[in-house]
């Protein structure tokens, strides 16, 4: 059981909360405490919109433990509209074939199940094709 490890990331997992450098204004997801660009200390949070586009993607057949039941699944690098890339699964694809440049948006889904039926369910962000309303 790894409860604290996942609980402390709830802002990131549920709301894509990263950070912004007070000096050079670079935005980071995941959040950083030291800016890699200008070495300033960072304490300011920045919530990303969750909108972005696919930078690259793959379809995985050999899954690690905890992911076996959902294989095959798609993992992508998503370029958020504010700049950073984020690693996440693609979901709700239906018959849609993912492609580079496709617009996607963040949703909350189950990431992994931790062990048996008594284990922890871990939720977090995935990305789905942008819904046309």
């Amino acid at each position: 059981m790894e409860i604290a490890r996942h609980w402390r990331l709830k802002k990131q997992r549920y709301n894509l909360v990263g950070s912004i450098c007070p000096n050079c204004k670079e935005k980071y997801f995941p959040p950083r405490e030291i800016c890699p660009k200008c070495s300033s200390e960072i304490s300011d949070e920045f919530a990303f919109s969750g909108n972005g586009e696919i930078y690259s993607f793959t379809l995985m057949y050999d899954a690690p433990s905890g992911f076996d039941e959902t294989a095959p699944y798609s993992v992508a690098l998503v370029k958020l509209e504010e700049g950073p890339l984020v690693t996440a699964q693609l979901t709700d694809l239906g018959d849609t074939q993912p492609e580079i440049g496709m617009r996607v948006e963040m949703v909350t889904r189950r990431l992994r199940s931790d062990g048996d039926e008594r284990g922890m369910l871990i939720y977090g962000y995935k990305f789905r094709p942008l819904l046309r309303i």
Binding site: P30, V75, P84, T87
Partner: protein, 389 residues
């Protein structure tokens, strides 16, 4: 001019890469150690540095330095494990180089070992993913193979890679592996075989991914003035040993298609050795994935950006090409023994420079470049080995 304080490779040893079900991690390592010590003319190590990535998880065994010193009859000497993911072996060699350079250690034993078959199935896949960012990569089901697939797809998109554009890498690796008695796969493959292979992690197929195998290899490092007189073995000097890091997570890079740590490490190594890429006779790269081979060739200055794949396509990396690579099969055909890989590369390069590469010998090779990576060059260790006249 002979410099007495040159750091030289005095002995090498390696086990065939395989699924060594009947042999334990410690037995594998000890056999490689014995072979290297014998090859060195029985030099007595004062320190053992172990390159290993995953024994804590796969074999529930940490503390390998002490274990291996003890079981190889060297109890009492300095003994530690060096971990830098898949580049652990290269990093251990670098630490050995520093130790002997410092003068504190006169003879260093470096052993790289990985025992994948102690854990099989999805638990093994999970263990391998621990070299990634646990909170932001592995938790999304991303594996190192998936990282490579993400790079391969984007590379294909950016540079208009033709179908089978990466096929040359495994084809040449397997042709060389067929002549290496220590290789895991000793069979050449055809383009047709490559084309028919199943997808492992789209767009990577089975032959774009190096096979994980159990292995152990060892090296004895010492100063040139401590070598026994009268030996006929050519002296192999470490002309450069550099190590550089990048972001751990692929997503944290401004330019994922550029192996920045590999480039910096290679550039510093050329500078340190006082050579240019054109003087390298062969390059043992970290072809854990065919896309890594392409990106490594670009980073090390052998191809322009986006053109690394062409060196495989036009066979420049074959044994008779302009820049032979993976001369004993590379990770793809010799096999990928995790944290042991960097030591295998150094052992193979040493034998190649001594003229003992058998059917894969490159005539008159004098200068070798070897590079050990972890993940998508999240760390890069570069060594240049030179045969002294």
């Amino acid at each position: 001019m002979v410099n007495k304080t040159d750091i030289v490779i005095a002995g090498v040893g390696q086990l065939p890469i395989a699924e060594h079900w009947e042999t334990s991690l410690r037995s594998m390592a000890i056999r490689a150690i014995r072979a290297a010590i014998t090859d060195s003319g029985n030099l007595k190590p004062q320190a053992i540095l172990v390159g290993n990535m995953l024994a804590s998880t796969l074999s529930q065994q940490a503390h390998l330095g002490t274990l291996l010193a003890d079981y190889s009859g060297l109890s009492g000497i300095e003994a530690v494990t060096i971990e830098a993911g898949g580049a652990s072996g290269g990093a251990a060699l670098h630490q050995g180089f520093l130790a002997v350079s410092s003068g504190q250690v006169e003879v260093a034993l470096i052993v790289g070992v990985e025992k994948f078959t102690d854990t099989v199935g999805s638990e093994g896949e999970s263990a391998i993913s621990t070299i990634e960012d646990a909170d932001y990569e592995a938790i999304h089901g991303l594996t190192p193979t998936a990282q490579a697939a993400l790079l391969a797809r984007r590379y294909g998109h950016e540079y208009k890679l033709p179908a089978n554009g990466l096929a040359g890498f495994p084809l040449i690796a397997h042709a060389n592996g067929a002549r290496n008695s220590n290789a895991m796969y000793r069979k050449a493959i055809s383009l047709e075989t490559y084309q028919k292979a199943e997808l492992v992690c789209d767009p990577l197929n089975l032959y774009d991914v190096a096979p994980l195998g159990d292995g152990a290899a060892a090296i004895i490092l010492t100063r040139r003035d401590l070598l026994a007189d009268g030996s006929n073995t050519p002296v192999i000097r470490i002309a450069a040993s550099t190590i550089n890091s990048d972001t751990l997570s692929l997503a944290d890079r401004d330019d994922p298609l550029w192996f920045s740590a590999a480039q910096t490490s290679a550039e510093q190594a050329y500078l340190s050795a006082g050579i240019k890429p054109q003087q390298v006779n062969f390059f043992e790269y970290h072809d854990a994935y065919s896309i890594f081979a392409a990106l490594s060739l670009e980073a090390a200055g052998f191809a322009a950006r986006g053109q690394g794949w062409q060196l495989a396509d036009n066979r420049s990396i074959s044994l008779t090409g302009k820049i032979p690579c993976a001369t004993q099969g590379g990770l793809k055909a010799r096999g990928y023994p995790g944290g042991g890989t960097g030591i295998y590369q150094a052992v193979e390069a040493t034998l190649q420079l001594r003229g003992l590469a058998g059917g894969n010998q490159i005539p008159n090779s004098k200068t070798a470049l070897i590079q050990s990576l972890s993940g998508p060059a999240s760390i890069a260790v570069t060594h240049i080995l030179v045969r002294e006249e």
